[in-house]
C-alpha cells in the first residue's frame, strides 16, 4: 500500500503535518470552547454580567480621583480625565484579562489535553475570546461616558479595530508563552498575576504617556502596551491628541515579535504537553 493511501501519518519530530488544516477542521471546537467559557463565567454569581461593568467603573473612579484629582496629572487634548482613563482601560483590560485567562487555560483544561487530540492552540486562543466580550461591554460603557460628557470622537475612531487587533495579538503572544511555560513550570501561575498588576502601573493607564519625559519615551515604548494604549487614545479622543510615531512603531514591532515568538514556542512545546502536564 502506498503512503498516499493513508490520511494521516504520525511520526516523531516532524510535528504533525497539516496543522493548519487541522486547525480549520477544529474551528467549531474553538467556538464551543469560547462559548463554554462565556457561559460558565458568571454562573452562580448574583450580579452576573454586571461584574463586567462594575470592575472597569471602580478602576475608573479610583484612577480619576488618584491621578486626575489628587496627583493632578494633565490630560491629553481637552478630553475629560475619566475619558482619558477609560480609553486606556479598554485595551488594558482586554490585554490583562486575556493574558491571565489564557495563561491558566492549559492547566485548567489539563484533563482534555491528556485525553483527547485537537490543536492545542485552540485553548489559549479561545480563552482570549472571552475577554473580548468584556471588552465590548466596556466599549459600551465608554460610549455612555462620552455621551455624558458630550465628547464626540472624530473619524479616527474608524481606525480603532486596528488597535484592537494589536491588543489581541499582543495578549495572544503573551498567552502562548505563559500558557506553554505554565505547563512545565507552575511558577508562572504566580508570575502572571504579578505581571498584570505591575503592568497596570508601568503602562500609561491612569495617566497620559505624555507625562513621561521625551528622552525616555522610546525606551518606555518597549512595553508593547504603551503603543496600543496610545493608539487607543489617538483613535478615541480625536482632534488634538498626537501619536508619538517612533514609539508606536517600536511597540507594534515588539508586540508582533511577542506574538510570533509565542506561536513558535507554543508549537514546539505543544508536542510534549500531554506527557508533562
Amino acid at each position: 500500500m502506498n503512503e498516499e493511501d493513508f490520511d494521516l501519518i504520525i511520526e516523531p519530530t516532524k510535528g504533525f503535518k497539516n496543522y493548519w488544516r487541522d486547525l480549520w477542521r477544529y474551528r467549531e471546537l474553538f467556538v464551543f470552547m469560547a462559548w463554554r467559557d462565556i457561559l460558565v463565567r458568571y454562573k452562580q454569581t448574583v450580579l452576573g454580567l454586571a461584574w463586567s461593568v462594575l470592575r472597569p467603573v471602580l478602576i475608573l473612579i479610583v484612577f480619576t480621583v488618584l491621578f486626575g484629582k489628587l496627583a493632578k496629572f494633565p490630560t491629553e487634548g481637552n478630553a475629560p480625565y475619566p475619558i482619558l482613563v477609560l480609553a486606556a482601560l479598554l485595551p488594558w483590560q482586554l490585554f490583562a484579562n486575556a493574558l491571565s485567562e489564557s495563561s491558566n487555560s492549559l492547566i485548567t483544561n489539563a484533563n482534555m489535553i491528556s485525553k483527547i487530540y485537537f490543536p492545542r492552540i485552540i485553548i489559549p486562543s479561545s480563552a482570549v475570546i472571552v475577554s473580548c466580550v468584556d471588552f465590548l461591554i466596556t466599549l459600551a460603557l465608554m460610549a455612555g461616558v462620552m455621551a455624558w460628557y458630550q465628547y464626540l470622537p472624530d473619524a479616527r475612531i474608524l481606525t480603532l479595530p486596528i488597535f484592537v487587533v494589536l491588543a489581541i495579538l499582543t495578549a495572544l503572544g503573551g498567552g502562548f508563552w505563559m500558557s506553554a511555560l505554565n505547563v512545565k513550570y507552575r511558577d508562572f501561575r504566580y508570575i502572571v498575576p504579578f505581571m498584570v498588576q505591575f503592568g497596570l502601573y508601568v503602562s500609561p493607564v491612569g495617566f497620559s504617556s505624555t507625562v513621561v519625559p521625551d528622552s525616555w519615551r522610546l525606551l518606555y515604548s518597549l512595553n508593547p502596551m504603551v503603543g496600543v494604549i496610545d493608539g487607543f487614545r489617538w483613535a478615541l479622543l480625536g482632534g488634538d491628541v498626537d501619536l508619538y510615531w517612533p514609539g508606536f512603531f517600536l511597540s507594534v514591532l515588539i508586540g508582533l515579535a511577542f506574538f510570533c515568538s509565542g506561536l513558535v514556542y507554543f508549537r514546539r512545546e505543544e508536542r510534549s504537553f500531554a506527557d508533562v502536564i
Partner: protein, 428 residues
C-alpha cells in the same frame, strides 16, 4: 480488506526523573540546572552532546514505554489490546490518537479516528446536560449539525430527558456517566479507539455499552479496544494484541491471545508453585501442586481427569482450629467455587509440623479452559495467616466434539431421563 492502521517500529521513550522532592520542576530548578549544565559544558566541551542530558547531572532514567512495536489492522477488524498494568497499552492508544508523539517509528492511519480514552472528557460541571452534549460532541470531533441530528438519540440513550437543563454537577454519578457515554457512542468514526470506558457505571449500563460497541463493530467500522475485562474483549473482538513490557507478545485470534496471556501470568508451568519460608508467621503455605491420579505434577489436565490440588503448609505452633481455603476463578475473575477443609469433615487439632491437604476436583466437573486457583491458610473465626491470590493456573483441555461443545461454567454429566410417552415404557 485493506489495511487501515499500520504501525511500524513504534517506540516511545519517557524520562523517569528520580528527584524526589517535587513533581513539577520549578523555574529555580531549571535555572540552576541550566547553569550547572553550562558550566560542565564549558569544562568538558568534548563530552557535551547536544540535547542529551549529561550523565550524573539529572538522575533521570530512560524508560521505553513502547519498544519497536509493529502491527497492522485491517478495515472492520475489532482488535482487543490486553496486557498487564504499565505494559504500554495506554501509551499505544495515546500515540494512535495523537495525544502524544512517538519517539521513533511511524503510524499510518486511514479514515477518521475517534478516541475515547475516558468518558466525559471536557464536561463542565456548571453547564447543563444539553450544553454539555454540544460541548462534548465538539470535543470528540462532531460537527454542530451532526450533534443536532443525533441529539434526541443521545438523550434517549442516556435516559436523562428530565434533567436536560440541570447543571451536570447536580447529576448522580450514574447519570453523568450515562450521558457521557451516550455522546461518545453516537460518534460515527471509521476507526474507534476505546480504553477501559466500560469500567464505569452499573452492570446494566455496562451491558448496554457493550451492546452499542458490538453494533458499531457490525457496521464494519474498525475498533481498537483496551480492557482488563477479558470477557468483554472476548465478546467484542475477534483478534487481540497482547502487549508486554512495551513489546508485542502475541497477535492473533482472541482466544489464543488470552490463553497465552493468562498462562504467562504465572511463572511456574510444571504444576507446582513453591512459596518463601515465613518463619515469623504462625503458619504459612509452602507449596501448591496440581496432581493427577498417579500423583504426577502437571499443569494441564483433560476435562475427564480428576485433579488433586495439594496444599502443603507449615505450622509453627499448635492449632486447635484451622482451615485451608481454595477458590477457583475463571480468567474474568468470577469465582466458580470456593471450598475449605471443613467442607466434609471436622479437622482435628494439629501440632507444630508440616502438613498437606489435598482437594480433589472430580473429573467432568468444569468446562475446559484456564482457571486460577487461590489458596489460603486460616484460623477461624477471623485470622488469615497466609494467602496467595492466583497462586497457580489449572488448564483443562476439552475432549468433546465441537458439536457437543458446552457453554457456561460446568461440564458436569447431568442425568437425563428419556421416556417414550406413547407406550409408557422405558426404552433407552
Amino acid at each position: 480488506m485493506s489495511t487501515v492502521i499500520k504501525v511500524e517500529n513504534l517506540s516511545k521513550r519517557y524520562y523517569l526523573s528520580h528527584q524526589q522532592k517535587e513533581n513539577f520542576p520549578t523555574l529555580r530548578d531549571a535555572i540552576t540546572r541550566t547553569a550547572s549544565n553550562l558550566g560542565r559544558r564549558l569544562l568538558h566541551p568534548l563530552r557535551a552532546s547536544s540535547g542529551q542530558p549529561l550523565e550524573g547531572l539529572d538522575s533521570t532514567e530512560e524508560f521505553w514505554a513502547l519498544d519497536d512495536v509493529s502491527f497492522e489492522v485491517k478495515q472492520g477488524d475489532r482488535v482487543g489490546i490486553i496486557g498487564r498494568n504499565g505494559a504500554g497499552k495506554s501509551t499505544l492508544l495515546k500515540i494512535l490518537s495523537r495525544i502524544t508523539e512517538p519517539t521513533k517509528g511511524r503510524v499510518s492511519i486511514k479514515g477518521r479516528v475517534a478516541s475515547l480514552l475516558e468518558v466525559g472528557t471536557g464536561f463542565h460541571p456548571e453547564l447543563t446536560g444539553r450544553e454539555n452534549i454540544f460541548l462534548n460532541g465538539a470535543i470528540l470531533g462532531m460537527t454542530r449539525v451532526e450533534i443536532k441530528r443525533k441529539f434526541d438519540e443521545i438523550v434517549d440513550f442516556a435516559e436523562i430527558e428530565k434533567f436536560l437543563d440541570t447543571p451536570v454537577k447536580r447529576y448522580s454519578s450514574g447519570m453523568y456517566v450515562r450521558l457521557a457515554f451516550a455522546v461518545a457512542a453516537h460518534l460515527e468514526p471509521e476507526i474507534l479507539i476505546v480504553d477501559e470506558v466500560l469500567a464505569v457505571g452499573d452492570a446494566q449500563f455496562q451491558k448496554k455499552c457493550l451492546g452499542k460497541m458490538e453494533e458499531v463493530g457490525k457496521e464494519g467500522r474498525t475498533v481498537l479496544f483496551v480492557s482488563h475485562n477479558l470477557s468483554a474483549v472476548r465478546r467484542l473482538c475477534a483478534r487481540s494484541l497482547w502487549i508486554d513490557r512495551g513489546q508485542v507478545s502475541f497477535l492473533g485470534d482472541t482466544e489464543k491471545t488470552i490463553q497465552s496471556y493468562l498462562s504467562s501470568s504465572i511463572p511456574m508451568k510444571e504444576g507446582i508453585v513453591k512459596f518463601k519460608e515465613q518463619q515469623d508467621k504462625p503458619a504459612y503455605i509452602s507449596s501448591v501442586e496440581l496432581l493427577d491420579e498417579g500423583n504426577n505434577a502437571q499443569s494441564s489436565f483433560l476435562v475427564n481427569q480428576l485433579v488433586k490440588v495439594k496444599v502443603t503448609f507449615v505450622a509453627n505452633r499448635r492449632f486447635t482450629l484451622w482451615r485451608v481455603y481454595v477458590d477457583l476463578k475463571n480468567p474474568d475473575g468470577t469465582i466458580i467455587f470456593s471450598t475449605t477443609t471443613q467442607d466434609n469433615r471436622d479437622v482435628c487439632p494439629i501440632e507444630r509440623g508440616i502438613y498437606s491437604a489435598s482437594l480433589i476436583i472430580p473429573s467432568q466437573l468444569l468446562l475446559e479452559g484456564p482457571y486460577l486457583l487461590s489458596v489460603a491458610f486460616g484460623e477461624p473465626p477471623t485470622k488469615r495467616h497466609d494467602y496467595h491470590e492466583n497462586a497457580i493456573v489449572l488448564n483443562l483441555c476439552g475432549t468433546s466434539f465441537v458439536f457437543d461443545r458446552k457453554i457456561g461454567f460446568l461440564s458436569f454429566p447431568f442425568e437425563w431421563e428419556l421416556e417414550d410417552e406413547l407406550d409408557d415404557k422405558e426404552r433407552c
